[in-house]
C-alpha cells in the first residue's frame, strides 16, 4: 500500500480543500469554522492507517497550517502525531473501518459543539466522504 499513493495528487487535493475551507466557504456561504483541513488530516489516517507517507505528508501539512494560522510551532504536528499514535494502538486491537471511524468522529464533534452546530458536524462528515472518494479515485494507484 505504501507505494500506491500519488503524493502530488494528495497535495493537490489538500490545496483544493484548503482554498474551499479558508476562502470559498467563509466568503460565499458564511461558514467560518476551519474544520475541513483538520478532517483531511484525520481522513488520511483513517483511509490508509498509520504508514510512513501519511505521517510525512500529514506532518508537513500540519507544519504549514501552524505557520499560516500562526499557531504555536509544533502544536498541530504534535496533535496530528498523537492522533496517529492513538489510531495505531486502536487498530492493532480492532479492525476499524474508515466509515465507522468517520461517523464516530463526526458524532463526537456534534456532542462537543452541541446540537445547534449540527451543520459543522455534517460538514465534517461530508468532508470525510469527499476525502475517501478522492483518495480512492485520484490518489491510490490501482493494480488492475
Amino acid at each position: 500500500m505504501t507505494n500506491n499513493i500519488k503524493i502530488l495528487n494528495l497535495a493537490l487535493i489538500f490545496i483544493a480543500i484548503f482554498l474551499i475551507d479558508g476562502l470559498i466557504l467563509p466568503s460565499i456561504f458564511g461558514f467560518r469554522e476551519s474544520i475541513m483541513v483538520l478532517v483531511f488530516l484525520v481522513a488520511m489516517i483513517l483511509n490508509w492507517g498509520v504508514i510512513i507517507p501519511v505521517l510525512g505528508v500529514g506532518s508537513i501539512i500540519s507544519l504549514f497550517l501552524e505557520f499560516f494560522w500562526k499557531m504555536p510551532p509544533g502544536s498541530l504536528v504534535l496533535m496530528f502525531l498523537i492522533a496517529a499514535l492513538i489510531f495505531f494502538f486502536i487498530s492493532s486491537f480492532f479492525s476499524v473501518k474508515r466509515i465507522v471511524g468517520a461517523s464516530i468522529l463526526s458524532l463526537c464533534l456534534l456532542s462537543i459543539l452541541g446540537y445547534n452546530n449540527f451543520i459543522i458536524a455534517l460538514e465534517a462528515f461530508a468532508t470525510f466522504g469527499v476525502c475517501f472518494t478522492l483518495f480512492d479515485r485520484v490518489v491510490e494507484v490501482r493494480n488492475s
Binding site: L38, F68, K70, P73, L78, L81, L113
Partner: protein, 264 residues
C-alpha cells in the same frame, strides 16, 4: 515487507515535542512570511466572493423588503430627530473642547486592511489581514469596520500580514456599556456562543436587543459597537445576571477593516 511505522512515529513525535518546547522560548513563527502576491491575491478573491455572498443574500431577502422598508422609514425619522439634537450637542461640545484646550481628535493613525483568511476553529477565533509590520501595525492595535463595529485586536504580526484576535475568542475582553444606559461590565469572548457580558448585577437594567458599546476605560477607543444583547438569564441563587451577546451583525460581511494604531 511493510516497515513498522512505530519507530518513525516516535521519532516524529519527539521532534514535534522539541519544536513545541523551543517555540515557547524562541520566536520561530517570525521566520515565516507569506509572499506578498499570495496575500494580495487571496484578499482580492475573498473580496470578490464576499460580494457574491452579499448579492445572494439580498436576493434571498427580497420577501422581507416591505417590512424592512417600514423599519428603515421609522429609523430614518428617529435618526433625523437624533441629528437635530446632535447638531446642538456638537456646537456645545466644540465650545467646551476649545475652552478646555483639549485636542479635537485623538491623533491616532489608521491603516486600511483586507481580510484574507478566517480561522474559526474550536481552538480559537481569529482572522488574517494583509497588513503587517512593514505597514506599522503593532500588537494590540484595535481593528474595526467602516461602521465602527469592533472586530478585535492585533494578536500577532508578521512582516506583511497579521493575525487578529476576533472578539468571540475566549482570550478577548473589553469593558462595555449599554448604549443610552448606565449598565456597564466586561464583555468576554465565548466562541460559538458569541460573547458573555460579565459583572452585571441583578438590579442593573439590561434587556434583549440592547446595543453594547465600548466605554473607553481600557485600551479600546470609546463608542465602538461591540454587539447586541441576545439573552438575559436571571438566577435567584446567583449575584450576577448571565448575559449573552451576539457580536455586531456587520461582521457577517467582513472584508475590509480599519486598524486604529496605538502610536500616531
Amino acid at each position: 515487507m511493510i516497515k513498522s511505522p512505530l519507530k518513525p512515529l516516535v521519532v516524529l513525535l519527539l521532534a514535534a515535542f522539541i519544536i513545541f518546547i523551543l517555540g515557547n522560548y524562541m520566536p520561530l513563527g517570525k521566520l515565516w512570511t507569506i509572499p506578498g502576491f499570495a496575500v494580495d491575491s487571496l484578499s482580492y478573491l475573498f473580496g470578490r466572493f464576499n460580494s457574491f455572498h452579499k448579492f445572494a443574500d439580498q436576493i434571498r431577502q427580497w420577501r422581507s423588503l416591505s417590512i424592512q422598508n417600514e423599519q428603515l422609514l421609522k429609523e430614518n425619522s428617529d435618526l433625523l430627530a437624533g441629528l437635530s439634537k446632535l447638531d446642538i450637542l456638537e456646537k456645545e461640545n466644540d465650545f467646551l473642547r476649545k475652552t478646555l484646550d483639549i485636542k479635537q481628535q485623538t491623533g491616532k493613525g489608521i491603516v486600511y486592511a483586507q481580510v484574507f483568511n478566517f480561522n474559526f476553529g474550536p481552538g480559537g477565533y481569529n482572522l488574517l489581514i494583509n497588513k503587517g509590520a512593514i505597514d506599522g501595525v503593532v500588537k494590540d492595535d484595535v481593528v474595526i469596520t467602516e461602521e465602527k463595529v469592533l472586530v478585535g485586536v492585533i494578536d500577532e504580526i508578521s512582516e506583511n500580514f497579521s493575525r487578529v484576535l476576533f472578539l468571540s475568542d475566549p482570550k478577548f475582553k473589553i469593558t462595555a456599556k449599554v448604549m443610552g444606559g448606565i449598565t456597564a461590565g466586561i464583555a468576554k469572548g465565548a466562541l460559538t456562543e458569541g460573547m458573555y457580558f460579565d459583572l452585571i448585577a441583578k438590579e442593573d437594567e439590561i434587556k434583549e436587543g440592547d446595543i453594547l458599546i465600548s466605554t473607553g476605560n481600557d485600551m479600546f477607543p470609546s463608542a465602538l459597537i461591540v454587539g447586541t444583547v441576545a439573552h438575559v438569564e436571571i438566577n435567584e441563587s446567583q449575584t450576577f445576571k448571565k448575559v449573552r451577546i451576539d457580536p455586531a451583525p456587520a461582521i457577517k460581511y467582513l472584508n475590509g477593516v480599519i486598524i486604529i494604531k496605538r502610536n500616531p
